[in-house]
């Protein structure tokens, strides 16, 4: 498994996500980590939030991840489709694996926001590691899963999240 963590791409969606995913990933002592935030573009229409604001937000996410993971590379990407942008970034940055921590949420929330983790495991061209969020006090476990075409693992993890 170590080769998987050689150069990990860690997509983060929010500061909370950066913290949770950073904690989950830190357990596995990755060799190198690239933390990526995708600024979702509307593609020819005004965005849902200012780009400048989300760029500032990305810096906060990177700072959070850095506090947990130590030295990391960071990248801010722009794209209309978050999962496709993550795949493109993984390609460009030569990532050994993409690490995701499902963000949970009800079916409704996932319907409204799209389920990036699900897209990542179902459309992937490289290893995707789905890590469970580490709850309060159970930091010792190592339940790493290698997700394949089976999207079930991701969705099942997702249900336990929030």
């Amino acid at each position: 498994m170590t080769d998987l963590f050689e150069r990990v791409l860690l997509p983060v969606a929010s500061v909370e996500d950066a913290e949770a995913s950073g904690r989950a990933l830190a357990q596995h002592e990755p060799t190198a980590v690239v933390v990526v935030h995708v600024i979702e573009k509307a593609g020819g229409a005004p965005d849902k939030a200012a780009v400048e604001q989300r760029e500032a937000e990305a810096e906060k996410m990177f700072a959070t991840a850095r506090a947990i993971l130590g030295e990391i590379e960071t990248a801010t990407e722009y794209g209309t489709d978050v999962s496709e942008t993550i795949f493109a970034a993984a390609q460009d940055l030569g990532a050994s694996a993409i690490v995701v921590t499902p963000r949970g949420g009800s079916r409704w929330v996932r319907l409204l926001t799209g389920d990036v983790a699900l897209d990542l495991v179902t459309e992937t061209d490289r290893p995707v590691v789905v890590l469970p969020e580490i709850g309060e006090g159970d930091g010792a476990g190592e339940p790493t899963e290698r997700a394949s075409e089976e999207s079930e693992s991701a969705t099942a993890e997702g249900g336990a999240g929030e």
């Binding site: 929010s14 909370e16 005004p46 965005d47 849902k48 939030a49 990407e77």
Partner: protein, 750 residues
Amino acid sequence: VSGDDTELAKDLGPLAALTIGVGTMIGAGIFVLPGDAVLRAGSFAAVAFVLGGVIAMFTALSASELGTAMPRSGGAYYYVNHALGPLFGSVAGWANWLGLAFASAFYMVGFGRYISRIFDVGGSVGVGPLSLNVVTLAALVGGTFFVLINYIGAKETGKLQNVIVVVLVGILAVFTLLGTLRADPANLPDTATVSETLGTTGFIFVSYLGFVQITSVAEEIQDPGKNLPRAVIGSVVLVTVIYALTLIVMSAAVPQGFIADLVTEVAPGETQPIAVVEVGRQLQGALMGGALLFGGLLATASSANASILASSRINFAMGRDNIVTPALNEIHPRFGTPYRAIAITGGLILLFILAGDIALLSGAAAGLHLIIYGLLNIALIAMRYVDPEEYQPDFTVPLYPLLPILGAILSFALLAYVEPDPRLLSFGVAGAAVLWYLAYARSRTEKQGILGEYILSRSDEMPGAAVSAAASVQPDGGDYRVMVPLANPESEHDLVRLAGSIAEQRNGTLVATHIVTVPDQTALEGAAERADDIDATSRALLDSAVEHAAEFDVPVETHTILSHRGYEEIFTAADTHAADLVVMGWGPDSHGSPGRVESAYDDVTGDVPCDFLVFRDRGFDPSRVLVPTAGGPDSALSATIASTLAAEYGSEVTLLHVTDDEDGEAFLGEWAADHDLADAEFRVERGDVETAIERAAADATMVVLGATEEGLLSRLVRGTLVMDVVDDIDCSVLLAEQKRDRSLLQRLFG
């Protein structure tokens, strides 16, 4: 972020940018207001719309220049704040935010009318006080829906907007083209007077708010140097032409009185027919009527949707500058939207729908935007006048300064033709924004306007009134400003060392001032004219202050202040230069001896505007600092000063507590821990306070004394206890008096 990424971030093409403007404007201009406009201005209704378009065009030109120079999020607010500073920035920001909320409420009431006509339901639902008419109910439901869309951040709606606008323009093109064929001058209603026409322009000006919202997403526009001016100016031209043609059709292609009859012949419980729809039906049959009815629904919806989105950009830019709390802009972890800002704007929209009628909503939206437009033109003039190096607009307003001056004058002048109630409301919002700045934002925002910076940096050359106006409203957010009024060369060095070391420890700014007292008989202007003497003295003093301050790593400002008053001018200067701490000398050579001070002091209130540190200079030697304390707020300031000196010069600090109680040591231990002075030596003495202080001072090089509730300055004047101690001690003495919190009202008007 690489250059490529920046390109990716800018994905609004020319059409998308244009449709933001057209889509926001057309909903109101065509689908809600023309009926009333024809009733008010008769055949001059088209003229009223064209006039509005012309006035908007001046501002569109200015907005284009500013937008190409600063393609930043936040648009109009950003430019005004950047150019004119946060006082006007607050006004522009609040006016833009609330103006968009009023506009959105207005669009939603229009939307409600269309819903009511489409489903042919009218009257009221509910009973008694809880009854709502159908239009209001539909407006509330629609408003809630579009707020939710933006709260969740459905990106599809943005693209839909482009389609909607193209469809609307298509429908209107057919309508006006076929309609003009039927036009007959004989149908024209009577013309209105000039003032009725202008009043109509004020009434319909809500139709010209959209172009400025393009600038609020300027950062997302591809090649803004080219596309932004095209979109801004193009949208104004396009809607003005469409408005004019539509109004011509509506007044010339249908018989006189057709529109008036629509209003008068409303069956009870029925919602008033919509003029443009009825004209379309009359001229081109049910299909056109239906298309216009459906189009109106889309148009009002897209106007509201775009406005809600634009307002969240204004909020973001205001929060970034700390004009409002940045907490407002928190991004939703799942939806990625600034949900708080949108929710608050949404609440306001629903409130306005319930509280205001259509004339109040549209009038307030127009009035608030006219204020912004005026300020926007002035902002352009300020940018051109100061001409900072980074100001490189790709598009420049032709015929400068004529057009922006006209734009400012016409925008403010048109306010006179906005209905009285909404006009009052608009001025009320602007006034409240000024108070908001003074009471809330001034102490938080750090950004100074280009104009204010320019005036203050040239305070010697600029007219005194301009300098003091700029200084009195400049922001003081975060920056700890230590003002040191200098009186004579002898004490200058020690005061600057003291003030500089405090400023350095607090990461603040040193503000050196020379207050020149001019005899009452001399006019200040006259004194300035024969200012050579004053100038030379002042220059020498301030230059040497700057030189001595170089020892510290702090920015230094210098100001020469001419005043009839000496001592009390310090209070005024502390206020206008936003000082957090004043470090002043006191003694035979300094600002007045007690005898001279007394009369001046009578005019001064017992409150001090900021922290004061009065230095009785007997040499600046901070190696052994004595802090007598009995607790209380002023000794807290003494403690801060002592720990600052310790940090800067490694001073040995001794705390002295004079008490006859047993627990003196315990008191000192606790007090020292509370005030970050746990390393200090403790000394507890009994007996007479004054004697004990004098005895302890024999071992010290500097004594820091806190004033008590009675007020340090009153003691200075009246020669009470502290004075005697100060005179009897051989080393230097610092008297510390902490700012007294005055009430908000006093601070605003005092």
